[in-house]
Symmetry: D4
Subunit: 245 residues, 8 copies
Amino acid sequence: MRELLRKVGSGEASVEQALAELKTLPFEDLGFAKLDHHRSVRKGFPEVIFGQGKTPEQVAKLAEAVLRRSDQLLITRVEVAAYDAVKVVVPDAVFEPTARTVVVDRRKKVTKKPGVAVVCAGTADLPVALEACVTAEAMGSEVRQLFDVGVAGLHRLLANMETLQSAKVLVVVAGMDGVLPSVVGGLVEAPVIAVPTSVGYGSSFEGLAALLTMMNSCAPGVGVVNIDNGFGGGYLAATINKSVK
Amino acid sequence: MRELLRKVGSGEASVEQALAELKTLPFEDLGFAKLDHHRSVRKGFPEVIFGQGKTPEQVAKLAEAVLRRSDQLLITRVEVAAYDAVKVVVPDAVFEPTARTVVVDRRKKVTKKPGVAVVCAGTADLPVALEACVTAEAMGSEVRQLFDVGVAGLHRLLANMETLQSAKVLVVVAGMDGVLPSVVGGLVEAPVIAVPTSVGYGSSFEGLAALLTMMNSCAPGVGVVNIDNGFGGGYLAATINKSVK
Amino acid sequence: MRELLRKVGSGEASVEQALAELKTLPFEDLGFAKLDHHRSVRKGFPEVIFGQGKTPEQVAKLAEAVLRRSDQLLITRVEVAAYDAVKVVVPDAVFEPTARTVVVDRRKKVTKKPGVAVVCAGTADLPVALEACVTAEAMGSEVRQLFDVGVAGLHRLLANMETLQSAKVLVVVAGMDGVLPSVVGGLVEAPVIAVPTSVGYGSSFEGLAALLTMMNSCAPGVGVVNIDNGFGGGYLAATINKSVK
Amino acid sequence: MRELLRKVGSGEASVEQALAELKTLPFEDLGFAKLDHHRSVRKGFPEVIFGQGKTPEQVAKLAEAVLRRSDQLLITRVEVAAYDAVKVVVPDAVFEPTARTVVVDRRKKVTKKPGVAVVCAGTADLPVALEACVTAEAMGSEVRQLFDVGVAGLHRLLANMETLQSAKVLVVVAGMDGVLPSVVGGLVEAPVIAVPTSVGYGSSFEGLAALLTMMNSCAPGVGVVNIDNGFGGGYLAATINKSVK
Amino acid sequence: MRELLRKVGSGEASVEQALAELKTLPFEDLGFAKLDHHRSVRKGFPEVIFGQGKTPEQVAKLAEAVLRRSDQLLITRVEVAAYDAVKVVVPDAVFEPTARTVVVDRRKKVTKKPGVAVVCAGTADLPVALEACVTAEAMGSEVRQLFDVGVAGLHRLLANMETLQSAKVLVVVAGMDGVLPSVVGGLVEAPVIAVPTSVGYGSSFEGLAALLTMMNSCAPGVGVVNIDNGFGGGYLAATINKSVK
Amino acid sequence: MRELLRKVGSGEASVEQALAELKTLPFEDLGFAKLDHHRSVRKGFPEVIFGQGKTPEQVAKLAEAVLRRSDQLLITRVEVAAYDAVKVVVPDAVFEPTARTVVVDRRKKVTKKPGVAVVCAGTADLPVALEACVTAEAMGSEVRQLFDVGVAGLHRLLANMETLQSAKVLVVVAGMDGVLPSVVGGLVEAPVIAVPTSVGYGSSFEGLAALLTMMNSCAPGVGVVNIDNGFGGGYLAATINKSVK
Amino acid sequence: MRELLRKVGSGEASVEQALAELKTLPFEDLGFAKLDHHRSVRKGFPEVIFGQGKTPEQVAKLAEAVLRRSDQLLITRVEVAAYDAVKVVVPDAVFEPTARTVVVDRRKKVTKKPGVAVVCAGTADLPVALEACVTAEAMGSEVRQLFDVGVAGLHRLLANMETLQSAKVLVVVAGMDGVLPSVVGGLVEAPVIAVPTSVGYGSSFEGLAALLTMMNSCAPGVGVVNIDNGFGGGYLAATINKSVK
Amino acid sequence: MRELLRKVGSGEASVEQALAELKTLPFEDLGFAKLDHHRSVRKGFPEVIFGQGKTPEQVAKLAEAVLRRSDQLLITRVEVAAYDAVKVVVPDAVFEPTARTVVVDRRKKVTKKPGVAVVCAGTADLPVALEACVTAEAMGSEVRQLFDVGVAGLHRLLANMETLQSAKVLVVVAGMDGVLPSVVGGLVEAPVIAVPTSVGYGSSFEGLAALLTMMNSCAPGVGVVNIDNGFGGGYLAATINKSVK
């Protein structure tokens, strides 16, 4: 914006041109969507496409549009039908069915930065945990996985203290009672991103029980994202890991 | 009613006739429904048929009945099967599949009155936003659309300040965090009708999160309708727009 | 903003001046608050002070600050202690204890515009209904009051059909079952702003029951504001009334 | 019980016989269920079979068992598959598909007692309203139906004041905002049984909104049953109607 | 209304007179309230004053106004301060502090009709149970009380089977788990009005647990009123009892 | 009951005597309460008085009544005022202010049976934990206390494994995130009674978060009682401990 | 652990060996899961496989892994597809379709210990009740079943007092109003494990109503497990029964 | 632990000594609490005392105990009475009444590390925002404050883009609609810690509305802590800031 004002001040741009630029430049109108191309400047990563609630055609068009201006693409909550539509126009799209993600990375020689650990409590939490892994990796982090270490068998967790304590940031995924982030948060100094999942039944109320547990964690240093939001957990972890020493 | 009393007083109608008239005139009993023909007098628009929870046969019979006394028809929440039943008896019915609406307008030379803007946050909110558009248009308003301008890319919204500030009334549709009406409400003087949608997952609780956000909006001048109630948003906006200078 | 860009383009202002102006002009930093002086330009009325949760000293300082740039002032949710602090520095402040409002209007010869009706269901809803009245009047509307016309005695409402149907916009306030806006909405063509109140007990859940009733109103043309938000109802009604023919 | 004690006291039964009788007589053990044959003595009507959650075979066996000791049968929440199983063993079973009920009445010359009115707000409430009708009729009441008289068109209701005021007890069925029982309760002296339905969407929360509205009704003389519990409404109405003058 | 139409038809009243009468007759405007004098015609009992949320002065004025046209008065949820204001203007007002009621009955030789039983689960439910008793008695019913018969000691209930089974209608009051109406409903044929109370702690959620228990009662013939609504329970019971053989 | 039938059969009691005995023997009617003297036979411990919601006079009268037939007394949720009333008539009453309990035990030479451990997460949980201790001890168990061992410092818990694993039954008390029972449940074989407390703020929702955590515990062998129900936890633990080898 | 320390102290194991053993011994990493073989030592029964949310392949692999180190296996929430995958690799697996369980017991001459009673309120609660039965039996308890004894026909329950009072621990399963555990808890001295089920409709809110009823039970000695958690009820009952005299 | 094992292996410690050390070293038992002295090793900061729900005496004793082993102290949620008790034994304790914190820092020459910004929406959010500031500063971060920049006056926020974008981590505090973190999250690349507050009324439900808004934020990179948990927000921010380049 300072740049825009400078151009107007120097006469490089007229007021009308400046207003026009302001309106047309930073996003692309696809009719059903306005793709935010400016996001990779502002947030350090291009707009991520949330696949749920969009038709396969919409997803494919958005994928194409992202890749017109970026060499990276991440789509989350992708059903097979949407992936099928995407790969017609983006043949190098990589689908991870359990995580329900599509990733493209056309950059050369990318080195991932270590520091993120993704920990989950049970086997049924895998889709959410893997979505976190794929997201953090797409954003440049190397991820260590530590799965099925719920507190019903605490020794499984304690036996992996080295992995826990060497991470710069941890994503901890759990459904049902959602206690794992509290326990991990009590054992490590690094920030913990807690991700409740909808795994459970009855009074888990589709993840509400786990969400409330994590919100009320007695261990300090725990931030929480939405239920089943593996993407959000991975994104926040990678954001932190990027700036860590 | 004054008219009815006058007739009784003048002897034009007996008490029994008056009571009978009161009972039979203003609505039509279809057995499964009592169609409120009086509504176009009272509310300025004929009774709108809510398609959800009715059989295709019921919807078609109601459509016919409305058009016996009116030259306008609006049906909302219409599935294809119900539309198929309607078009047999109402061949000029126009179906909008994304909005899930059927419209008939047999009036000649209708000029729509400008003033309504329908704004939505994301692509997945389109069905609700379009239901608002169709409704407001059926009721005589010209609608400007401004879609996919969620606050994650605030510049998309700010670049459209002219559209926002020139509207006489705005319908603002958003799911997930539902913050768009608060932001729009802070930028415009005109009334804002906020429509939460069930778009989201986890702790969006089928639109409850967005509803509560909108209810608690810090920006004054915001009224809220039910989750996914694009019809209600469009109806209220058109009602306001009708009486505006 | 267009004006600001023009000044930079014409050389009337340097880029640095423009940025400085952008940062300092439109609000005033009181330390504990940033008063939005720009609001009367943007919204047509100066920033309204929400008294709840602020100390009497903070309220009084904000009142003074508003009146430094405006000849109108509205404070809502004012306790007596805060009013006492305000009248020391604003001797012409008018306190309405039931509505819990403070109003100042230093403009000369103001004519209120008719069109707003405020309707409430029961005596216990008076504080909220009066807050709506004071707010709409402060914003330039003349208000007709129709109180204690709940549906348990429907004839009280029907006997006032003329008041209801002659209004350009109605604020309908109700606690407990919250049914009054649905009934009024079925009788009038004008927009209805429904205000649920926390009046009730047991499963009224502090106004939640009334809120949900209003949200699900079968009568179209009803928008809802927060529980006990008489200010919001009056503000939205006055906003609509201002632009009405 | 007094009878049992008398028999023991008079020597007609030994203590062991009495205890054995106490354990075996009043119900019949079908393995998956213990049919309460004593209920028609205690409650004036044989045990009603709740079809939901039972297999067609279980429903059919229970139907047979009821009819072994009674000449009346009522099954609610019956799917077609369960009805098909029932009619093999109970050829005179009468199925009402909208109400989802099966009825058998083998008594001769039964005169229904007038007094019950079943009122509903909209077409989508019909299954619940009809379940109430079938239940009240099975229990000996004659039912007057008044359907689709929601308050959005209040005149449809007021035109039927005679039906409303001549009833000895009213069942009032409504979904969405659930306001109809409040309005009816303000117009009649007879007891009103309010039945909320799950008709609606968004913040109707599957009938919770209507339930809370009815719970908080400002009109006295209203009792509420569970969401969609047409059976409960009809049962309670018939119970009251039976004992009315 | 028929009467009004007749007068207009016969010339006894002009149209203007009829409209005027419609507007002025059936209620009395006290400024802060519109007292519904027509209610004793329509509902068989004068308007009951709900004391909560009203000032002592308002309660006293309403009490006077009711007694200007009626010889009966019932006020519920009365604090001592309000009673003190009432007895100045209504010296024969009778205050029942546990029930929080004020009653006046100036009729001569009133015989109460037997048939209502009020049953409660625990000592802490007494205020609600007594409000039900006072209400039913004010409306002409004789009430039998059966208190502190919760199911933790089932024999206390079973020992009173005669009282339970001889009642024409039962009001059953319970907090905490709210199971008493289900058990009573399984034992009697007469209608049961269930009144949940806010007695309890923790997950009783101020009576919600008891309310839900009663809503879902497996025993048919149970209607529910609001939490702590002893008035509503007594009113509905007396309404039923009035018309019983 | 068998005994009663035997007496009638043998002529020792007439039918009328038997019915009379059934009605009068097992409880004592104090007017405001029906004390269940039969409970110590049926449940192994006399009726426990729940002090909350009762006047000091009611509590004192109940205390006296219990001790007329029993040599043990337990009152929970006792305020000082109630204790003061009790000690006038029961001079040997022992008050524990943090636990809010009153205990009397007039039996001679009572040996407590070891086996119960009461564990709590934080200092603020002490009142609930102590209520559990007092209750279990009053019912004959010896209790080991392990307080302030929340999982934020897991080593405090692991350092007490011997206490945990030697208990026959554990009461585990926790507020906020309520994770302690899950962790303890994963470490021990004995049954765990989990007691959520209302300790916390914000989204702890007065103990709901802790309750849901415990309900959804991944560790098997955990049963849950009401929020803040230290009595319930201690009672159930002592009941189990009584029958343990 | 003491053993491990002893070995290090005695030189039988080096520090590195000890740490390695700590990390590898007590569980088995299957990639998607870490099977807790140590659990049968710690909890007295091998890790139970929760079938829901796992693929048939995952269930079969876990079943094989459990049986590599144990001669007992319990899988809950098993769909037919998962059972089909299991029986390929575990031909002696026994499937109980209503309970949705798979059981293997390869021990010789196992005598079940009597003491557990499983009681349920209605036929639709059978799957949950049977899951409790299968679990308690797999863990070594002999189970008496008492089904369909809901309180709507209280005599069915009272006729089985002997079964109720002779049990050492009871599992009481109920949906809808969930009152059965309160009634049973008032009749027996033994601990009661209450299991709410999702049976019901409307305001049962998928079992929440029953859960809250049980949480607030007035009868002491009742612990509650999650909605539909028959496994949890059976597990806790068997844990208690194991240690009972 | 490795160290402990090494000592045992080398004979420096016997097994008994090792077990004893494990049990006694890392925490201090004060009777009512077990202070976790090990925490400053494990988490990089000594155990923070949560003042709410503790007596002034307990708070003072814990403060003394912390300072016996540490030269830093933080107490949150401190009432004046507790501070008075603390300053008797810790004369250099610094009380911040709005933030309700007590801080002691006896280290010499501490340089705070820049990077944390604390942003809040309104004046009533100050106590929570200041608690975040004090906490982050106590843990070594320099904090920039940006208060009262709610989105109703968006220019107040946009005028401070430099502060927002230069922060390494942001704590964003908001009540009512809670939209500020979504808007900030759309403007910055750094991680955002969102803190909902209980500021608001009606359907804000004590902060639930703001919490849900934040949970569902459309802007990625946002983690949420408990309602009013300024401590948690400041702690997590400082934890991240510590490790940032």
